[in-house]
Amino acid sequence: MQLAKENLLAFYQTMVTIRTFENKAAELFAAGKLPGFVHLYIGEEAVATGVCANLTAKDYITSTHRGHGHLIAKGGKVDLMMAELYGKATGYCKGKGGSMHIADVDLGILGANGIVGAGQPIAVGAAFACKYQQNGAIAVCFFGDGASNRGTFHEAMNLASIWKLPVVFVCENNMYGISNCQRDHMNICDISDRAAAYGVPGVTVDGNDVVAVFEAAAEGVKRARQGDGPSLIECKTWRWRGHFEGDPATYKNPEEQKTWLQKDPIPRLAQKIIELGHAGEADLANIADAVKAQVAAAVAFAESSPDPVPADVLTDVYAGQ
């Protein structure tokens, strides 16, 4: 499939937005400005970007604790996200959720999630609703290599299969669950092989190649929209940072880390764009500058936003309260 210029430039824009947002979050965390846990998506941008490029605002995604990339790729607004990271009243969750719980249900984002694997059956439920309501929408479930060991994976895959639901399971295999590397937490190489246990097609792609991810996801999304049921896509990638900010990740092999840094998905895409003549270095630099300004504005928005007031703690527990 030959992707159009607009597509590739849109990918670039999204990936750079994620990278810039995440680098800024790292900086702000180190400066003590962000409370709580922050898990960054740096190095994995091609996955969320390639997958979400196949979706519309009517489609649903479930995300993870490492959710910023998914949210941005699905259309989440960086100012509302940043304000939420700060815990401000103007944030996506009015400061009640924080990084691990950002959601935008109107955009089909059913939330980052602090419980590893919890999104899997939730995505199945959203997909069930799409089928039940025959509204043509689908659901995508992002989860990690570590999460593929949880029972929720098994139950969600099986239920989606027998109910033939329009859901695409996207496993972001970044080779680690905190300090535990894939070869220590499972005895198989390709997580996509797990799909066969449910009569579901599974495929593995280079998760640092946004075009490969896009194409594999397009196939899964097509199946889902056609009523052919779920599929599993494993995207092999690498977590550049520690598990959370503050983790020096001494358990990682420096050689491996170096190798993976060289596979940075962003320059790879940039090179392709330039080779294809879709844009020049200067054009790409312009995109990056615009993104930088956008993220800076998001920080300014967050910093100038008010904190919630203490009484807010009691609201939003029950609907119709």
Binding site: Y60, Y92, K96, L110, P121, G125
Partner: protein, 322 residues
């Protein structure tokens, strides 16, 4: 009014809401062609094609998927065959269903009914006989419903389905066959409103689910001994109708709480605490709890009888106050 059993009344409540709103669906293990382990959902699969779904043995995915469906606009009634199995899907209930709204800053609603059944008396032993409502009442964002009569069973089921929040609706095995008058046509019982199942003046007995009937039997016997007991059925533990309990205490000045769940950290503790905080000056005697002991539920009927609270134990507790 129509005579029906508690089981039929539950079904009637589900039917009423399924007819009214196409977003309501029912799913769970063997709820379809089998009609549910106790026959409660019998026939619904034929009445509502495509809206009553048998699932595999997959409690985690039953509740997890119900959360996802509810968050995007459906109104699932998701059955967990026995309340004892909720340990399998606790995360989906207490970290996902009930917290989504709050964590998302009020920008989601999760109208999900977890339908299940509790209780002993059928020699189903330690993993199929428990009463676990105290756990659910300790989960902000969840409502806990435990009907004791056919009419309440229908009206509370309908209200639970219509509520925009996660609700756990807990039936009791001993009550399934209980008959009673149930309003025909649309019928709703509001969540959060206690029912005085028997008025009285000398002592307040708070009981729910099966224990309402044990308390009523005790009250009947106590009346013969000249003690007038008021039996209050909160019907929903969260929201709790504190006012009804405190109003009763203002009359009787004595409180006996009865629950089938084990004693320590049962919901009786919460009611006792409310009374000792907000009704301390109304009380003129120690609060009593009549509960199961702190043990698993034993199998042998002889042991299970010893385990379960009954009218004898309630009468004894009440008499100790006079």
């Amino acid at each position: 009014m129509k005579k029906m059993t508690y089981a039929e009344a539950i079904r009637d409540g589900i039917r009423q809401e399924m007819k009214r709103d196409s977003a309501v669906y029912l799913c769970g293990e063997d709820v379809g062609k089998f009609g549910g382990c106790f026959g409660v959902t019998a026939g619904l699969v034929d009445e509502f094609p495509g809206r009553v779904l048998d699932t595999p043995i997959t409690e985690t995915a039953i509740i997890g998927s119900a959360v996802g469906a509810a968050a995007v606009g459906l109104r699932p009634v998701a059955e967990i065959m026995f309340v004892d199995f909720t340990g399998v899907c606790m995360d989906e209930l207490f970290n996902q269903a009930v917290k989504m709204r709050y964590m998302f800053g009020g920008k989601a609603k999760v109208p999900l009914v977890l339908k299940t059944i509790c209780g002993g008396g059928v020699a189903a032993a330690a993993q199929h006989s428990q009463c676990m409502e105290a756990w659910f009442t300790h989960i902000p964002g969840l409502k806990t419903v435990m009907p004791a009569t056919p009419a309440d069973a229908k009206g509370l089921m309908a209200a639970a389905i219509r509520d925009d929040n996660p609700v756990i609706y807990i039936e009791h095995k001993q009550l399934l066959g209980l008959g009673g008058d149930v309003p025909e046509g649309e019928y709703l019982v509001p969540l959060g409103k206690a029912d005085i199942k028997r008025p009285g003046t000398d002592v307040t007995i708070v009981a729910w689910s099966w224990m309402v009937h044990r308390a009523l039997a005790a009250a009947e016997a106590l009346a013969k001994d000249g003690i007038s007991a008021e039996v209050i059925d909160p019907r929903t533990l969260v929201p709790l109708d504190k006012d009804a309990i405190l109003a009763s205490l203002a009359k009787t000045h004595k409180l006996v709480i009865v629950h089938e769940a084990v004693r320590t950290s049962g919901f009786g503790g919460e009611i006792a605490a409310v009374a000792a905080e907000e009704g301390f000056d109304l009380l003129d005697a120690p609060i009593k709890r009549v509960t199961a002991p702190d043990t698993p539920v034993p199998f042998s009927p002889v042991l299970e009888k010893a385990f379960l609270p009954d009218e004898g134990k309630i009468i004894q507790a009440v008499k100790e106050l006079f």
